[in-house]
């Protein structure tokens, strides 16, 4: 289950491979961890992995600053140890050294520091310029709205029929920049898919923007990065980057409202009725009367990889478990734990399993 759950992208070339190995070794030597691969492939590990031009220059900046910082720490430590332990002529402990002298330490030390710092200012501004704006105007615009504690994802279209709404799973085509408009429905959240780009806050009353681009197909994990209450730990999302054709195929599927395959009196029809009674106040299913806006749009629920903003993989068992025990999984969430009889469970499950 865990394996299926995140696909790690393969490094593009040997050069990068070497870097990855070297850096994992460095990190692991420091952390003393035995399970190297696991740490190197940590889904949010932005230090060793980047998968697009909005993240890559920052990764190199991070390496450069880390290397420089470690070097300076080493030099200062050696200086300090030398200062502490260097041999000195035996001295009367009542004697006091003169106040003058030693200023050269300050002049040289501060001078060199200033020189380095100004270099860093320039380098960081160059990187800022590289990642702040996409190289070309994004053709795809997605609005992501943060909720306590999930993400609404909307693909705009001039024709409302063609627009797509989904939740917690952001599909993008590889190799091109995608503009993300960031909103919040309640408190401040932050949109962060570390291997694709840095984070941006989603502030109620404002629309922030950021862009991402994935150069290799894969699934990239994101996480809310601004404390937003009890469910903050369980507010992640996935970015699914796929070829342009696959992306179009996905988007076309998502555009369709659901159809009604149920015969009157069937379990599925009972399930649908149950949904309309118990769930439709908060959840929408396009093509039905369910139009609730408080919770995720469930039109193509079955096609999604994850449930409850990344808390569970999307399997029929997990889905029913989540419906019955939402408050246990995510205390304080707006989704209540719903009491259902076995027959109701079966019916609802049957109905939901048709939402592909």
């Amino acid at each position: 289950m865990e394996q299926q759950f995140h696909l790690s992208a393969v490094p593009e070339n040997t050069w990068q491979n070497l870097h990855t190995i070297f850096l994992s070794a460095a990190v692991l030597a420091l952390s003393g961890s035995a399970n190297a691969a696991k740490v190197a492939e940590a889904p949010l590990n932005y230090f060793m992995r980047s998968h697009g031009p909005a993240a890559e220059p920052t990764k190199y900046l991070g390496w450069m600053l880390t290397g420089l910082s470690l070097t300076i720490i080493l030099i200062i430590s050696l200086l300090l140890i030398a200062a502490l332990l260097r041999n000195r002529p035996l001295m009367d402990m009542r004697a006091i050294g003169p106040e003058s002298g030693g200023l050269r330490w300050i002049y040289i030390g501060t001078g060199v520091s200033t020189f380095i710092l100004f270099g860093l200012v320039i380098y960081s501004l160059i990187v800022l310029d590289a990642v702040a704006k996409p190289p070309s105007t994004p053709a795809i615009i997605v609005t992501v709205t943060g909720y306590d504690w999930w993400w609404r994802i909307e693909y705009e279209h001039d024709d409302p029929e063609q627009a797509v709404t989904t939740a917690n799973e952001l599909h993008i085509p590889v190799g091109q920049p995608v503009l993300i408009k960031l909103k919040s429905a309640d408190v401040i959240h932050a949109f962060w898919v570390p291997t694709l780009a840095g984070k941006t806050q989603m502030i109620p009353g404002l629309i922030n923007q950021q862009w991402i681009q994935a150069d290799t197909p894969g699934v990239y994990t994101g996480q809310c990065a601004q404390f937003c209450g009890a469910g903050h730990a369980h507010m992640s999302l996935e970015v699914v980057a796929e070829s342009a054709e696959d992306f179009e195929k996905w988007r076309n599927t998502q555009r369709h409202p659901v159809s009604f395959p149920f015969k009157a009196g069937s379990t599925g029809e009972f399930g649908q009725k149950l949904f309309m009674d118990r769930c439709a106040g908060c959840h929408a299913i396009r093509g039905t009367d369910a139009a609730g806006g408080h919770g995720p749009d469930l039109t193509h629920l079955k096609s999604r990889r994850i449930l409850a903003a990344g808390l569970l993989p999307n399997t029929p068992e997990n889905l029913m478990n989540w419906i019955a025990n939402a408050q246990r999984f995510k205390p304080g969430a707006r989704m209540p734990s719903i009491n259902l009889t076995e027959a109701e469970k079966l019916a609802l499950s049957t109905y939901l399993s048709t939402l592909d």
Binding site: S33, T58, L103, G109, L125, P194, Q226
Partner: protein, 657 residues
């Protein structure tokens, strides 16, 4: 400043008052507080207040530390269920609130309250009663912020308390009201304390202690106090507006009615960032003053370090946006604040190289306080460099809100505040109590704390680089954070063990420590010229200072001027000390100091009860308490005969040396 009324002119007697002399006994009688509980409530002795600050703040440190240990248990492994999310949120909020507001600044105020008059050669702070008030309000505000904790309703929106999460819609309990009112109350304490420090520096230095002779701790606290006066209004306003939004129905931060959540972030960080420097600069001052004692030479580059202290704060007002890089502000604005955040490390470099040069050129004496100060230097460098990394805007978009920041801020706050503070307690404990602390246990406490700290907090950098966000109560094992978190949890308990050794050392040394004498470390500054613990009047005669190192000048090649410590103004017609000019410290006026009074306690108490009334919506009770507060203030301010010049005019002119 100078009295124009010639009848009130008086030239103070110059003389000696050795221990045991009649003059000395008379002084003791004038300055000592009443024995028993009356004296306990009414004392305005800066030394007593300073120690109260230190003890209270240290207790808060222990409470905050226990909160941290509970959180480290919860985070020791993936998917642990020791705490619910809500409990975890209250714990990390109270941990931050406690450490930042109830420990970090108050402990430094404690040191400064105790040490300033002794270092400056004065008999007290300028406003002794204000000093007492500032302590009482701090104590009550601390208790206030903890009242809802046992009810499970403690503040839970983080110490930064962002709206709208902390607003009336998403946070309905009393949690945030407690925090908001507590912060306004605490702000009053910090403000009056800061006023006292600023005026004390400019008016209360011993004759001859020109502005370029004051210890660096004084520069640090002065800078911090000026900054506090400028930025506390911002945070007090923010919390007051939030309270209005919550309880009165205003819309300052209410999005639905045009309020702006970003306004909170600006108001908070305009205060928050200078505050970071306010809680490290005095601690850096502790090191700058105490480190040279163990290097057997003065600090290298005194003027540079003093200037760097002020430069840090000046630039410190221009960096608050680096807490807000991810809020969507335009890139040009971000680059300016990013550049300022790089530049602010230049004055820090000055201090670091000054300390290393002092050690290099000196002859280190490896006593416990010195270990803490030398260890501090490397922690300071690590915390500073991780800070430089976050100054790079694009990199901060990744590092921000991850454990990398948690690592950075703990290197800064523990490294630059706790290590100097514990070193400072080892250093001044003999002055506080008259007894030495145990060296062997002291060295153990240092090494256990130092190793535990680095084992605990260094891996947090890695957790951050691996993408671990802050303020999550649990994590899944597929995230790859298990090992680093386990190491961090182990390290934090080792660190706690080090603190425990320190506490045991304090407890034992209080009773059995070797007698210290007045200057056990052979240090240079004025506080070591008086007995340990110092008498209530501090200085039997007001010293005359001729150099930066009054107790070393015989052994240094410092020209022919010598400070006069045994002979000086006697000033014993009531509580008196000398007021001097701001720059040259030329004697200007005899200051009649107010006597002990319980009014500061009552003003603080009534004020705090008024805030409690606001919390509980007992409006008439609040009104009654404010009225009581005003009455207590009137009693406080009531003119007293003892504060007027009583001597007949003497033929000689104004006091001069």
């Amino acid at each position: 400043m100078q009295s124009q009324d010639s009848r009130l002119r008086r030239s103070p007697e110059v003389g000696k008052a050795p221990v045991g002399s009649d003059a000395e006994k008379q002084l003791a009688e004038i300055w000592e507080s009443l024995p028993g509980w009356k004296g306990w409530f009414s004392t305005v002795d800066h030394k007593v207040i300073g120690l109260r600050y230190i003890v209270t703040a240290f207790l808060f440190l222990l409470i905050g530390g226990i909160e941290a240990l509970i959180m480290r248990l919860q985070l020791a492994g993936p998917n642990l269920t020791l705490l619910t999310p809500e409990q975890y949120n209250q714990l990390f909020t109270m941990h931050g609130v406690t450490m930042i507001f109830l420990y970090a600044l108050p402990i430094l105020s404690g040191f400064s309250n105790y040490l300033w008059p002794l270092m400056l050669g004065s008999r007290d702070m300028t406003f002794p009663r204000l000093n007492a008030l500032s302590y009482w309000i701090f104590l009550f505000a601390g208790i206030f912020m903890y009242v809802s904790f046992p009810l499970g309703q403690a503040p839970n929106a983080g110490w930064f308390n962002y709206v709208p999460y902390s607003g009336p819609i998403y946070n309905t309990g009393p949690n945030i009201d407690v925090f908001a009112l507590g912060m306004v109350l605490l702000g009053i304490s910090t403000t009056v304390g800061s006023v006292n420090f600023v005026v004390t520096l400019f008016k209360m230095r011993a004759p001859g202690m020109t502005i370029n002779r004051v210890p660096i701790l004084v520069w640090g606290t002065l800078t911090a106090s000026v900054a506090n006066l400028l930025v506390i209004p911002s945070v007090s306003l923010a919390f007051f507006l939030l309270w209005l939004d919550r309880q009165v129905g205003t819309h300052f931060f209410d999005v639905a009615n045009g309020g702006k959540p970003l306004l909170w972030q600006h108001l908070f960080w305009i205060f928050g960032h200078p505050w970071v420097y306010a809680i490290v600069l005095p601690a850096m001052g502790i090191v700058s003053d105490a480190l040279p004692t163990f290097c057997r030479r003065p600090l290298v580059g005194y003027a540079w370090v003093a200037l760097a202290t002020m430069a840090t704060m000046l630039v410190g007002f221009e960096v608050w946006i680096h807490h807000m890089f991810a809020t969507g502000l335009p890139a040009v604005a971000l680059s300016i604040f990013g550049a300022a955040s790089f530049v602010i490390s230049i004055p820090s470099a000055v201090a670091v190289f000054a300390w290393i040069a002092t050690i290099w050129l000196g002859t280190p004496v490896f006593k416990t306080p010195f270990l803490f100060f030398a260890g501090f230097v490397i922690l300071f460098v690590i915390g500073g460099l991780s800070g430089v990394m976050t100054a790079a805007v694009p990199l901060d978009w990744q590092l921000n809100e991850t454990y990398f920041i948690v690592a950075h801020l703990h290197y800064v706050l523990l490294g630059i505040n706790v290590f100097p503070v514990v070193g400072g307690i080892y250093y001044w404990f003999p002055k506080f109590t008259g007894r030495m602390m145990d060296e062997k246990m002291g060295k153990w406490s240092f090494w256990v704390m130092f190793v535990g700290f680095n084992v605990g907090f260094f891996p947090m950098h890695l957790a951050g680089l691996l993408g671990m966000p802050r303020r999550i109560y649990t994590y899944s094992s597929r995230m790859g954070w298990d090992t680093v978190n386990l190491i961090t949890s182990i390290g934090s308990f080792v660190f706690a063990a080090g603190v425990l050794i320190f506490l045991v050392n304090v407890a034992i040394s209080l009773r059995r420590g070797a007698p210290a004498g007045s200057n056990p470390w052979d240090a240079a500054t004025l506080e070591w010229s008086v007995p340990s613990p110092p008498p209530a009047y501090n200085f039997a005669v007001i010293p005359h200072v001729a150099s930066r190192h009054p107790l070393w000048e015989d052994r240094m090649d410092e020209g022919s001027n010598r400070s006069s410590l045994e002979e000086g103004y006697l000033l014993m017609e009531g509580r008196e000390t000398i007021g001097t000019s701001p720059i040259d410290a030329a004697p200007e006026i005899i200051l009649k100091m107010p006597g002990d009074s319980a009014t500061p306690f009552f003003v603080g108490l009534f004020l705090s009860l008024a805030f409690a009334g606001m919390l509980l919506h007992w409006w008439s009770f609040t009104g009654l308490m404010i009225l009581s507060c005003v009455i207590a203030l009137m009693v406080w301010m009531w003119p007293e005969k003892a504060l007027a010049q009583r001597s007949p005019a003497s033929p000689s002119r104004e006091a001069h040396v």
